[in-house]
Amino acid sequence: MMRTARFIGGRLLGMIIVLLVITFISYAIFYLLPANPAQLSCGRPCTPDRLATAETFMGYDQPWWQQFLNFVGGIIGGRTFGSGQAAIHCSAPCFGYSFRLNAPVTDLIWDRFPVTLSITIGAAVLWLIIGVGTGVVSALRRGTLLDRSLMTFSIAGVSAPSYLVGLLGILLFGFTLNMVPISGYVPLTESPVDWLWHLILPWLVLAFINAAIYTRLTRGQMLEVMGEDYIRTARAKGLSEARTIGRHALRNVLIPVITVFGLDLGGLLGGAVITEKVFSMQGLGALLLDAVGNLDLQVLVGITLFSAFLIILANFVVDITYGLLDPRIKAGSS
């Protein structure tokens, strides 16, 4: 227990350091963006005086390292822009304040996160089930027509760009068959049926593409595990095929699958940029694309940090889960 606690502590510390480095690098890179947020919000016509005032108010007149420190400080203790009645307060954790959208980045992220979460989780469940299922079947029927069809299908899936599949999906199911809505998102709280209805197509598209990867991964693992001695042992014990595969093989196959799954999920939760664009859904990805287009520095850094956090968190969770699934991996000795 002590060991595990120490391990988790160490990992958490490592995560914080990695996050700090990422914050710093993002800040440095985005600082180089040819954007002067003050100029963009100066209004028309703009005079040098007004520009300077706006810069001071937003804190862009300070040296870059000071700005960076302010940013990090904001995450810990919140920030206030300006003073007096007109002051804008951004409470901790403040991942910046978007003057363009008049909102703290934290609020923006929380507004948009449910959309991305809905898209990602739904799709992830689908692709995990489909991917692992077909992978196992394919491995067990190795060399048969079924195996080869599934493999062909999956390599097609790996090769197809998500937006192409998305577009074809919209064209077929949305326009031609008029079965599902072509775009938009309805919150679960508003109408669960509409929520589901709007998400089906994105789920299917995202699942189709990702399932392919899992099919291949599962199949490869399955073939390897089926060649292991302990499978022979299980058979020599007189266990049925179903039990040999379902219990002895699958458990070992799932270990690497879960790893990749966690990382994929972490990556996608930070914004399914292309899916959101294709289906016009206002998730984190869309917010991000919008921020890039408008050089909204604060939002960019905020989201970058948030996605980095999710990715790193996913890594961490995967490591922990790994230890739970595989008794050989002791916490701390990975």
Binding site: I25, I155, V158, S159, S307
Partner: protein
């Protein structure tokens, strides 16, 4: 996202070229993949020649091929003897030429970015794995950091930062390449860790070999198979990444043809002129498919474990 699915170490497999070739030729999928790869590479290399035969360059406007609403006139987006794949709406440029030249962009960026990734990844992975200790710790953390970055955002943002004089294609190659190296670095590091414990490495060390000799003479040749397979398997991903950037409007600047951009533009025209989507879309799909099939076959051919794993 950690490593492309199914990449497993291909360690020290005794193989020779002829054997691999024979195995590849026996795998119908790999043969189809290889044929597609060769086809697209040829198309990319010979683009000027091909368009000379087809009669139109990718930059030539043919406003006469459009109707008054600026959509291509005639059947199937203007398919005719003059324009084999029809024309682009709004410009009347020959879609065949655009697709052919698009192959140049895709293949060039895909391959070059892979080279960047692989070079960086192998160098960092091998150094981290071999030297271990603090070098490894620092490099591994670096790998974590790059993994933690939402790559796409940065690819988009860096496009805006770079000075206009800096060639955009080079920038895209570097950026895609840069965000691709951690995956291979991890694999190479892992294998190096395993390889350096091998007795022949220890023997070389004991015979007085320096680090340089061991890295390049002992380890690298044994990593070659992994690296080749990894490279082949990551090319389609890189082609996809370039297309995705072009699709999002931050790829190589127009008018240089790029499949992703054509697809992005074609979305809007899908109801009026579906062929505008079909041709570039099919090209992108087939090129990616070709590299995937071939890479898969290559891995199987190089990996003896892919055989005789039955029950």
């Amino acid at each position: 996202m950690a490593t492309p699915a199914g990449i497993e170490p291909v360690l020290e497999t005794p193989h020779n070229g002829r054997q691999v070739q024979r195995r590849l030729l026996h795998d119908p999928a790999a043969v189809i993949g290889g044929a597609l790869v060769i086809l697209f590479i040829l198309v990319a290399a010979l683009a000027p020649l091909i368009t000379r035969i087809s009669g139109h360059g990718p930059y030539e406007y043919d406003l006469g091929a459009l109707d008054e609403t600026t959509a291509p006139a005639g059947f199937g987006g203007g398919i005719s003897a003059r324009h084999w794949f029809g024309v682009e709406p709004l410009t009347g440029r020959d879609l065949f030429a655009v697709v052919v030249y698009g192959a140049r962009t895709s293949i060039l960026v895909g391959v070059a970015a892979t080279v960047v990734s692989v070079a960086l990844g192998v160098l960092i992975g091998i150094v981290a794995g071999y030297f271990g200790g603090w070098t490894d710790r620092i490099l591994s953390r670096t790998i974590d950091v790059v993994f933690g970055f939402p790559g796409l955002i940065f690819m988009i943002a860096l496009g805006a930062i770079a000075p206009p004089r800096f060639p955009k294609s080079l920038l895209i190659i570097l950026v895609i390449g840069f965000f691709g190296w951690p995956a291979i670095a991890r694999v190479v590091r892992g294998q190096t860790l395993a390889l350096k414990e091998r007795n022949y490495v220890v023997a070389s060390q004991a015979a007085g070999a320096g680090a340089f000799h061991i890295l390049f003479s002992q380890l690298l040749p044994n990593l070659a198979a992994t690296i080749i397979v990894f490279a082949t398997i990551s090319i389609p991903g890189k082609i996809g990444a370039e297309a995705a950037l072009s699709f999002l409007g931050v790829g190589v600047p127009p008018p240089t043809p790029a499949w992703g951009r054509s697809i992005g533009e074609a979305i809007s025209w899908v109801q009026t002129d579906p062929m505008f989507l079909v041709f570039p879309g099919a090209a992108l799909f087939l090129a990616t498919l070709g590299f995937n099939l071939f890479g898969d076959g290559l891995r199987d051919a190089l990996d003896p474990r892919s055989e005789s794993l039955g029950r």
